[in-house]
């Protein structure tokens, strides 16, 4: 779209990020009648899905195993049919409050037309997540060429058609690392092994099976890369089995390779939000939200991987829809946001987090609760209590730290109460 320099851009809903979360949010907000703008820094919308050429997307939403680009394309088509202003190659550079609390926000954006200002009643943050890099994991030695994050390797191979190395070692067993082990192998590189410090892979079983076992790529658990060797280019890495944080003497080995690929975790991208100082959740590393995906800043919503790292894109799209619709209702003063109260959710027992962290009450219908366990367990009983009274119980089997779980909470159980504390606990027993 051509930006008109003369006129100040004004929208009801501005979505930041054009991945699956942002596209779903923009579609939902537009369908509620809002004037919507979507900002994307890249040339094309689609987000991370553009480079995820493997299949396994959309099983819940389309009952099909789509590839990432196919899933993104379907949403981009839907978005194209709506009167949404999509600004690509556009960076959001700052967010400020615009007057009093319900007046919304003032954004500065930069693109080929220069710097523009944009006024918006609400914001939907859908900027995805970024990868942890070698600066965030402790490895000795130089930093020669040949160290990539798994996402960078994926971008190089799948979008640019360039093989980052011929002999690779992968550190970490996140899903992107597993998927890249397979891609590298198919493209003719040899993957010497995958080293994971934990006692179980951090990616999904399906990926361990179809990306490593299918190709005979060894997975070394309780192991890590201690040091990188090579001055200009990676020449080898030193690996070892670890016990209580210390390398086991006779397991220290040198593995010759020309590249080291890191798949050591993802961090929700929320830097832009800092100026508004929303309440953050230190476990998810995203903002704390209620069931409408609204943060503690009025009119600011969060969804997708910016909110918490998801393993299924279907849930990402769903959170985008919820956020987009809620933002549109808020912008037209239809959300009834100032009535009622809020209940606080806390995760306890073998749970690393629960989302949403707050519930706005009174409200109708059911809210999907998403949670992740700290450690895998053959079974666990989930108990939800409100002010000490049990309101929901369910037994789960084969819980995996790598897999997000979901359970619907029917809000009618709160009849009459507009607040209080809700404890969500996963306990070991329960048969």
């Amino acid at each position: 779209m051509q930006l008109n320099q003369e006129k100040q851009l004004q929208y009801d809903v501005t979505v930041v990020g054009g991945g699956p979360a942002g596209m779903a949010a923009a579609i939902a907000a537009s369908d509620e009648g809002a004037r919507v703008c979507l900002l994307e820094r890249e040339e094309k919308i689609g987000g991370i899905l553009k480079q995820c050429i493997h299949d396994g997307f959309g099983v819940l939403r389309f009952s099909e195993q789509l590839t990432g680009p196919e899933y993104a394309w379907r949403y981009a088509q839907e978005l194209g049919r709506r009167p949404v202003d999509v600004l690509t190659r556009t960076f959001l550079t700052s967010i400020e409050k615009n007057g009093s609390s319900r007046d919304g926000y003032l954004l500065k954006i930069v693109n080929s037309q220069g710097l523009s200002r944009l006024e918006t009643r609400t914001l939907v943050m859908a900027m995805g997540c970024r990868e942890r890099t070698d600066r965030q994991v402790f490895i000795h030695g130089e930093r020669p060429a040949g160290i990539f994050t798994a996402g960078q390797a994926q971008d190089l191979i799948n979008l640019k058609g360039y093989l980052p190395g011929k002999r690779c070692v992968i550190l970490g067993s996140g899903d992107i690392g597993l998927i890249m082990a397979q891609r590298l192998t198919l493209e003719g590189a040899s993957v010497e092994g995958l080293y994971e410090i934990g006692s179980e892979p951090s990616g999904l079983n399906r990926n361990v099976s179809q990306c490593l076992e299918d190709y005979g790529i060894p997975l070394h658990l309780n192991s890590t890369v201690l040091e990188v060797q090579g001055r200009k280019r990676v020449e080898a890495v030193t690996v070892a089995r670890m016990e209580r944080g210390i390398p086991v003497q006779d397991t220290v080995r040198t593995v010759p390779c020309d590249s080291l690929i890191l798949s050591v975790g993802l961090i929700p991208e929320n830097e832009m939000l800092q100026s508004l100082a929303p309440q953050m959740d230190e476990r998810t590393r995203g903002p704390r939200v209620n069931q409408y995906m609204e943060t503690s800043c009025p009119g600011v919503f969060s969804c997708g991987n910016a909110l918490h790292v998801n393993d299924l894109v279907d849930y990402v799209s769903q959170s985008g829809e919820t956020a987009g619709r809620a933002a549109a209702l808020y912008a037209s003063n239809r959300s009834g946001g100032d009535r009622g109260g809020e209940a606080e959710l806390t995760a306890a027992g073998n749970l690393s987090y629960v989302l949403p962290q707050k519930l706005r009450l009174p409200a109708e219908g059911a809210v999907p609760l998403f949670f992740r366990v700290n450690k895998s367990a053959p079974r666990g009983k989930l108990t939800v209590t409100h002010e000490g009274t049990v309101i929901l119980e369910k037994t789960f089997r084969w819980l995996k730290a790598a897999e997000m779980e979901r359970l619907d909470l029917d809000l009618s159980v709160f009849s009459g109460s507009n607040g209080g504390s809700v404890a969500v606990r996963m306990s070991e027993e329960g048969s």
Partner: protein, 125 residues
């Protein structure tokens, strides 16, 4: 049918049992060990007969903006033939506009298997 022992993770449910596939004598049915339920036994037996997978990759284009087009095979194919399929895929050049779902080559390396675009390619003029 497998000819040597294979250890795999069952993916028929989240439990992820370790299965051992042990080849039977002279082409007879493989023996499956380690499963905890009938679903796992069936999965192991299928994998022992023939491991079928969907292959996805990319092909070259003449576009500077989009040097690679993502593609898939329309049907699952035997895992042990992936190398051949990769060679075929790597020798294909996408010279025409296409969108996800378009068939690029019919009967690609195997009757009934098509090479399909999963991305959109658009050449200027």
């Amino acid at each position: 049918m497998i000819t040597e022992q294979k250890n795999i993770t069952c993916i028929a449910c989240p439990r992820g049992c370790r299965l051992e596939l042990i080849p039977g004598a002279e082409g007879s049915e493989a023996q499956i060990r380690g499963y905890e339920c009938p679903k796992g036994l069936a999965y192991g037996q299928r994998e022992a007969v023939e491991a079928l997978r969907i292959l996805t990759s990319t092909v070259k284009t003449c576009s500077a903006e989009m040097p690679r087009l993502p593609v898939r095979l329309s049907e699952p194919v035997p895992l042990d033939r992936f190398r051949e399929f990769m060679d075929l895929i790597n020798s294909f050049l996408a010279v025409e506009d296409c969108k996800p779902g378009d068939v690029l080559v019919r009967d690609f390396g195997m009757p009934g298997v098509n090479l399909q675009a999963t991305g959109e390619l658009h050449y200027e003029n």
